[in-house]
């Protein structure tokens, strides 16, 4: 039907599907951005928490080292008297701590003179080393004054490695007896601590001056100042370090690697937090590749892309299904409409045809009435005029005779007309009665032919009779059958030219039925009129009726009679060649 409309529908559905997909993609992109922010924030927070956690852990761990020394000192001092104090008794404690803790490089006792007197292990202890002699007495003096623990370093040890010095003053009843110095291998300690905690990321630890105490990757950097070794390419790192030196906690990102040729770079995310250990304020940092975040977000992207592709496919699939359903529906609808339209057109046509038939019937009726009135008036007019003429005395006698004959002729004609009309009326109202009796076929035909013999003689038409049936008699209505024969023969004579020929054939169809043909070589009947010549009101055409005379009711009456007697009547004809009227009648 309307394929334009259908393709519009498809277009609208396609556009809707595309809009839906586009909105999903845009929403996905938007969401991705947010997801990236959230993931980044989460990552930063998590990393910061991690660094704080490590810092606190390390802080606690290192503080424990101090507490251990302080506990040993307090324990010793509590039971001692200034006179009876013997520093040698520390040696066994030193040994225990050293063996147990593993974090100490050495544990030593410095007497009031600033001379290292005992230590464990002995190989790491410069016995007899005087701090004053080597101008190393600052921390010693400081703890003596403050009576509080103090930490120095980190510093490279003579024997290698990095050590942090924990100075714990020993007072017995407010009498200074010296200090314990615990040298902690800070690098190893830190590493040990970190190893005990499975930590993701690289770690470095710097003191408040920026000196590197620990670096999980670049061990050789230990002891160097981080700020001094920062490369200008490491964009962002200096800011981070400055924050760290200020003792702040936080997270930052810096470029760890930049290739100016390929313009590729790698960035790292650094979370840092302070480690407060005694008088020291260090900063510990956890580094991770920022690409981890990217890859994390990337994996989210992938999932989302999967989702978008999946949803898009679903939408397209649904769209396709909708289109299919619609087109199928359309087709069904179209088929239905076509069906309905056809039915409507058909019934319209039938109505038109019926209307046309009614019109024709109406016209035929009007024509019939007009002809009948003409036919009824014409003889009356002739009779009237001739009667008037007869009344006139001036009328000569030969004209008088002529007029009287004319009157009789017209009265007969009028009678025939009235009889025919009555027959038509009876056939119309099924009021025709048949008086059946035995009829001789020969007699019937002879009687009929003799009735039309004058007419035939006038036109010099010969009538041949062929009876080809063994049946001699039938049971039927003699008068009515004669009327049928006469009507058909009259009709044949009317339309057959002068010196024409008419054949009557009678034959058996079966035991109960005979067939009669009346064949003429007259003008024939046009093909388009052949179906209607038996119609009640039908006249081949009015002028032909006028030309040949008669009411035009003969054939209609003949059909009515034949059908009333249980037979059939039909005609075969060819124009200008002649007609063959055939009827059948039951024999009983």
């Amino acid at each position: 039907m309307d394929s334009k409309k259908t393709s519009w529908n498809y277009l609208i559905i396609a556009v809707l599907a595309m809009l839906l997909i586009a909105s999903i993609i845009s929403y996905g992109i938007d969401t991705n951005r947010e997801v990236k922010e959230v993931v980044e924030d989460q990552y930063r927070e998590r990393q910061l928490l991690l660094s704080k956690h490590i810092s606190l852990g390390l802080e606690k761990y290192l503080n424990e080292k101090i507490f251990l020394l302080e506990i040993v000192v307090n324990h010793k001092v509590k039971d001692s008297h200034p006179s009876s104090f013997d520093y040698n008794s520390f040696l066994s404690d030193f040994e225990t701590i050293y063996e147990y803790s593993e974090d100490y490089y050495a544990l030593q006792f410095v007497d009031v003179d600033g001379t290292i007197v005992i230590g464990y292990p002995e190989k790491n202890t410069p016995i007899g080393y005087n701090l004053y002699d080597f101008n190393q007495s600052w921390a010693f003096e400081h703890v003596k004054e403050s009576k509080d623990t103090y930490i120095t370093g980190p510093r490279e040890l003579q024997e290698g490695g990095i050590g942090t010095f924990v100075w714990v003053p020993v007072y017995v009843d407010d009498q200074f007896k010296g200090t314990i110095v615990g040298i902690i291998k800070i690098y190893d300690t830190t590493e040990k601590f970190l190893n005990d905690h499975d930590i993701a990321g690289d770690i470095y630890l710097i003191d408040s001056n920026g000196n590197i105490i620990y670096d999980s990757i670049y061990r050789d950097r230990v002891g160097l100042n981080y700020i001094e070794i920062v490369d200008d390419d490491n964009f962002g790192l200096r800011d981070i370090l400055e924050d760290q030196l200020k003792g702040l906690d936080g997270t930052g990102i810096y470029i760890s690697y930049f290739d100016s040729e390929t313009n590729t770079y790698e960035s790292k995310i650094v979370s840092y937090s302070t480690v407060n250990w005694g008088n020291h304020k260090w900063s510990l940092a956890v580094k991770n590749s920022y690409t981890d975040v990217d890859s994390l977000v990337g994996s989210v992207y992938e999932k989302q892309a999967d989702f978008v592709v999946f949803t898009g496919s679903i939408i397209l699939l649904i769209g396709l299904i909708v289109v299919l359903i619609l087109s199928r529906w359309n087709h069904e609808l179209e088929a239905e409409i076509t069906k309905k339209t056809t039915a409507l057109q058909k019934s319209n046509q039938e109505l038109k045809d019926a209307n046309e038939r009614l019109k024709n019937l109406d016209k035929a009726k009007t024509d019939f009435i007009s002809i009948v009135s003409h036919e009824l008036r014409t003889p009356l007019a002739a009779i009237r005029t001739s009667s008037e003429l007869l009344k006139d005395n001036a009328c000569p006698s030969h004209i008088q005779n002529e007029m009287l004959e004319l009157i009789i002729r017209n009265v007969d004609r009028q009678t025939r007309m009235v009889t025919d009309l009555l027959d038509v009326s009876r056939l119309d109202s099924d009021g025709m009665r048949f008086n059946k009796g035995k009829i001789s076929i020969n007699e019937l035909i002879d009687l009929s032919v003799s009735e039309v013999s004058l007419l035939a003689k006038d036109k010099d038409i010969s009538i041949d009779i062929n009876i080809e049936t063994n049946k001699k008699e039938i049971v039927s209505d003699k008068d009515r059958l004669t009327q049928v024969f006469v009507n058909l023969l009259t009709n044949a004579i009317k339309f057959t030219p002068i010196k024409g020929h008419i054949d009557i054939q009678v034959m058996s169809v079966n035991d109960t039925c005979i067939k009669v043909n009346i064949i003429d070589n007259g003008i024939g009947i046009p093909k388009d009129k052949i179906d209607t010549i038996f119609e009640k009101f039908y006249q081949v055409d009015h002028t032909s009726t006028r030309k040949v005379g008669g009411t035009g009711l003969g054939l209609s009456i003949a059909r009515g009679i034949i059908e009333g007697l249980g037979g059939e009547i039909w005609v075969e004809s060819e124009e200008k060649k002649g007609s063959k009227f055939t009827f059948t009648i039951p024999t009983s």
């Binding site: 002739a382 005029t385 003429l389 030309k547």
Partner: protein, 169 residues
């Protein structure tokens, strides 16, 4: 053909006032009877009425009535023949039936009235149809009068006389 013959005979008589029907027939090499027929026709001074009707009996009674009254009555059975006869005989008046084979009364009337040569011939329409519409149609196309069948013979005669008088004035 007839008119040609009439013209020839009239010419001979004009040139030779003494010529007889025999001498004319000899001169034109035609039978004497044919010459007499033409002469009779030429000498007929009666008013000529053409009746056009396909009903022979109606036509016959009217013809006889008018003949008794001393008219020269000629007849035609259909429209086409009527037109032929009008051209040949040039009647003084036409009684024209409406329902005719070949060509109906209206068409014949229209043809006659629009012909410059015969348009003057008065026409009385005769028909069994008494409907007013037919009358109006007939008058509109130039019929001079209208008589409905079955007509009163004296009325018809009176109408003919009246119309002929009007035409001759």
């Amino acid at each position: 053909m007839d008119k040609e013959l009439e013209t020839k005979i009239l010419n001979i008589m004009a040139q030779n006032p003494d010529s007889t029907s025999i001498s004319i027939s000899q001169e034109l090499e035609i039978p004497d009877s044919q010459v007499n027929q033409v002469l009779n026709k030429l000498s007929d001074t009666r008013e000529k009425i053409l009746i056009v009707d396909d009903e022979m009996d109606t036509l016959l009674t009217t013809k006889r009535a008018l003949e008794i009254d001393g008219y020269n009555v000629i007849e035609a059975n259909d429209g086409k023949k009527a037109l032929e006869i009008i051209r040949k005989e040039n009647p003084d008046i036409i009684l024209l039936d409406l329902m005719l084979p070949e060509m109906d009364g209206f068409d014949v009337c229209k043809k006659v009235k629009t012909d410059p040569l015969y348009g003057h011939i008065p026409i009385i329409m005769l028909t069994a149809k008494g409907e007013i519409k037919d009358k109006v149609d007939g008058i509109e196309i130039g019929a001079d009068d209208y008589v409905t069948k079955p007509f009163n013979l004296s009325e018809l005669k009176a109408r003919i006389k009246m119309i002929l008088r009007r035409a001759n004035v």
